[in-house]
Amino acid sequence: MNPTLCFLALAATASSALPATSSRGLLAIRVDRAETVAHGTLEHAVILIENGKIVMIGEDLPIERGIPILDIPEGWIAVPGLVNCYSRVGMDGDGPGDSQPQLLASAALYPAAEAYAKILEAGITTLGLYPPGNGIPGQAVAVRPMGETAESMIVADSVYLKIILSASKASKKRLHSGFQKLDEYLEKEAKNREKWEDAQEKKKKKKKSSKKKDDDEDDEKKDDEKKKNGDDGSEKDDDEKKDDKKDDEDDVYVPLELSPELKAFKDLRDGSLEALVSISSSADYLHFLDALGEEEITWSLRIPLTRDIDIFMVAEKIGEEGCRVVVEPELTLQPGTMRQRNIVAELARAGAKPVLIPRSDDLDSQKHWMRDTGELVAAGLDWELALRAMTLEPAELMGLADRLGSLEEGKDANLLFLNGNLFEPGTTIEGVMLEGEFVYGEVNQ
């Protein structure tokens, strides 16, 4: 992958065919239309890129002389790079079926996987990779599908905690007991701290009292006992010295060790970690809420859309939550009939925020992600919402909205160039730019 990148970079400097980089690292792109996602459509857009970031974007911006200009062919449009936040592309292996919230998917990255180059071709510039397994398998990582090492791939780690919840006692208990154990720890911890504080106070008192004692004894100055006192005094001094040393050590409170499993639950409760809860039916949703109880965490839902899923039964309730729902671009059937339902549109209408992912992890599905989403658009899903569900919404889910997901100043220059209107059959991805560099396609001036 890197060689091609180098080649592209060289080619850019050598000829004007692909002016991806210049000496100043500045590049202006002129395109008929840009879908910014965050701020609507820009006609005759100019996108100024520097060091892999968008520094300026607007309609008909004047371009300073000397800045290389890339003119995108007429009728083409630019959209933000796609973000697939729920994937296992390029990873392998099975996970445990147990509660392992501390596991990181980033530990199992395989940068050399060939799939990543194809992923870029499909227009996906950011991937959210989740850990395998059932139960609570661990935390997902956001990567750019390029790089020689895991470090160079990772955009952000611990982007969400995956939780699989089904209507069963064991599954509900897994979530519930996690918080319960955390409570137990916190209680123990509080007690321990109290104990330490008490000890600390006692020591202070002891110090004071012992000093007083010494003073009194000095005052008495009884010759007979002078020797003894002296001995005692010296002994006491030693003790005090030891105590002082101990005090120095104890002055900084060392909390009880928090196991990594509980740390994950603590992060969930603090809000520093978000949960992605996978459910497969309406009943599961109710059981999830039941298992969660009073716990206040930030969560999104993952609902695999099977052929006759009954999730529309709780669509209103999910909508009232206003949470994100990770779904495939699939039309489902009303159970027991052949009547199609556009659950994604229904959820959106109810107030939920759909996050779309390709239909599956195989390369064909990744490639046809836009086309598949087009089917939903044709069946009534708002196209702007659909584009948002493939870009900014997943970026927000992973907490990366400040860097990804839309064409805005200051964000990474992840761009796709399409040769026609969005979600129309026949429209294909002609160019993919990852952080200011063309990684796929030939875009001529």
């Binding site: 939550e321 949470c323 009303q334 027991g336």
Partner: protein, 481 residues
């Protein structure tokens, strides 16, 4: 349904409030607002004002003991029956269901079932309140059932308060075909009875001498002890005359009321079973051939239920298949519980006893007759509204209500809506199952116009005074009997 719509309109502003909350709260990182809303949303109807009123107006209320109040009103508060009578004052915001011309019965109770709740073992954690089996069973009039020894309600869309009582039954084996376990059970009862005597004596003595220790439970079988103490019911599966006699004698010897499942030859020993205070769970259509080697009576009889009832046995009826079955011959699964009871009537069981065999007796058997099984003030508002006698084969359940909420509406579900639709429903445009599919933005889709029309139409109905001529349908209920 018009009445339901009215309440919906009343609720909407509240819902809108809840929706508005999370939307604004999500903007910031804090999710307090949204999760607050969630907890309120899940129980919105119970929480709002703390009082939820529901009324069935104008139907003939059958209380389940044989009494009928024609054209009466049943009012429920928070899922419990508050009042049954005439000219009731309905508090503001009451969810009214117009049942003029329809019959109201206690919700049916199936004392065994499988698959209705989706889950398997602990229903509270596994129930699927959206499953089609549950809808179909409700369509058959069943509002409560026992599954995995848990007495549970067919609540739709809710998982809380599903289980009324667990450990309803303790399965015991006492059969001549297995002498060893028969002897073992006898031994267990002997020990348990001895312990109970000791325990009772201790209970008296401990009042004087508080130091006295409770007798040791060592070697006492807890299940049999629970049966003797009435904490659960011992359930036997038996059909042959000799087995039935054995169980009756065992029960009389140790002083408990046995539950006997099957009991096809029960009619031959009905007196003994009656004296033992037995409960019988039977299927009137069950058949068993007489053993020709024996001179005495045997085999099954269509009169079984009637004879047992006359002898004082508490008869509960279940269909041959206690799940929802969509294969084989229709009419034998749990959707046809009343039809099965009808066969007992054919064999001479009084109609009232047949009704009780699928309502009050199973409720008693499950130990929840203080909550379900009949329509009385203070009991749960679990009822079915039919277009005729509940035991008549032609009758359809029009609505099923569980704890004061409509859990089933024939016109709203796919299954039977097209068969003899309700008069007012026949006039209204077809109700689409799929109202979520229409787009307000672009009215391109063909489903859209019909949907809007239906909504408008219902709204118009709402404005009309309630004396809709079509609601009266004087023939419907009488015709079927």
């Amino acid at each position: 349904m018009r009445s339901l719509l009215r309440t919906k309109a009343w609720i909407t502003p509240f819902l809108a409030l809840f929706v508005a909350l999370p939307a604004s709260a999500r903007q910031g990182d804090e999710d307090e607002g949204s999760s607050d809303a969630s907890s309120e949303d899940s129980e919105d109807e119970d929480e709002e004002g703390a009082e939820r009123w529901f009324a069935v107006v104008g139907g003939d209320v059958h209380d389940g003991f044989g009494g009928v109040l024609r054209g009466a009103t049943l009012l429920a508060k928070n899922g419990k029956i508050n009042e049954i009578g005439y000219d009731l004052y309905l508090p503001e915001g009451t969810d009214e269901l117009d049942a003029t011309g329809y019959q109201i019965w206690p919700g049916l109770v199936s004392v065994t079932s499988s698959g209705l709740f989706g889950g398997t073992s602990s229903l509270e954690d596994t129930v699927d309140p959206f499953g089609s089996s549950m809808i179909l069973a409700l369509g058959g009039g069943v509002t409560s059932a026992v599954q995995s020894d848990q007495a549970a309600k067919l609540k739709r869309g809710e998982i809380k308060g599903v289980v009324m009582r667990s450990n309803v039954f303790a399965s015991l084996s006492y059969s001549n075909s297995d002498p060893r376990s028969k002897a073992a059970l006898e031994e267990k009862f002997k020990n348990a009875a001895a312990y109970r005597r000791k325990y009772e004596r201790w209970q008296v003595k401990v009042k004087k001498d508080k130091e006295l220790k409770e007798p040791s439970k060592k070697g006492v079988d807890s299940t049999t002890l629970d049966v003797l103490l009435g904490r659960t019911r011992g359930k036997f599966s038996a059909d042959s005359r000799t087995d039935l006699l054995g169980i009756a004698r065992l029960a009389q010897k140790y002083g408990f009321r046995p539950v006997i499942e099957g009991c096809t030859e029960g009619w031959t020993v009905a007196d003994e079973l009656g004296r033992a205070g037995a409960f019988v769970i039977m299927t009137p259509r069950d058949r068993r051939t007489k053993s020709e080697e024996l001179a005495r009576d045997g085999g099954s009889s269509i009169e079984n239920a009637a004879i047992l009832h006359r002898a004082g046995v508490q008869v509960a009826i279940v269909p041959a298949t206690t799940s929802v079955s969509l294969g084989g011959i229709t009419g034998r699964d749990i959707m046809h519980l009343p039809v099965e009871a009808g066969f007992a009537i054919r064999g001479g069981l009084p109609e009232q006893a047949a009704l009780e065999a699928i309502t009050l007796v199973p409720a008693r058997l499950m130990g929840v007759d203080h909550r379900i099984g009949s329509l009385e003030v203070g009991k749960d508002c679990d009822l079915i509204i039919t277009d005729g006698d509940v035991l008549h084969y032609q009758t359809f359940v029009q609505w099923a209500v569980v704890e004061g909420k409509v859990a089933y509406d024939k016109e709203e579900e796919l299954f039977f809506a097209h068969i003899r639709p309700r008069p007012e429903a026949a006039l209204a445009p077809e109700v689409k199952v799929d109202p979520g599919e229409t787009l307000e933005k672009e009215p391109v889709e063909d489903e859209e116009p019909t949907d809007e029309v239906s909504d408008e139409d219902e709204d118009e109905d709402e404005e009309k005074p309630d004396n809709d001529p079509d609601d009266e349908d004087p023939d419907d209920s009488d015709e079927s009997r």
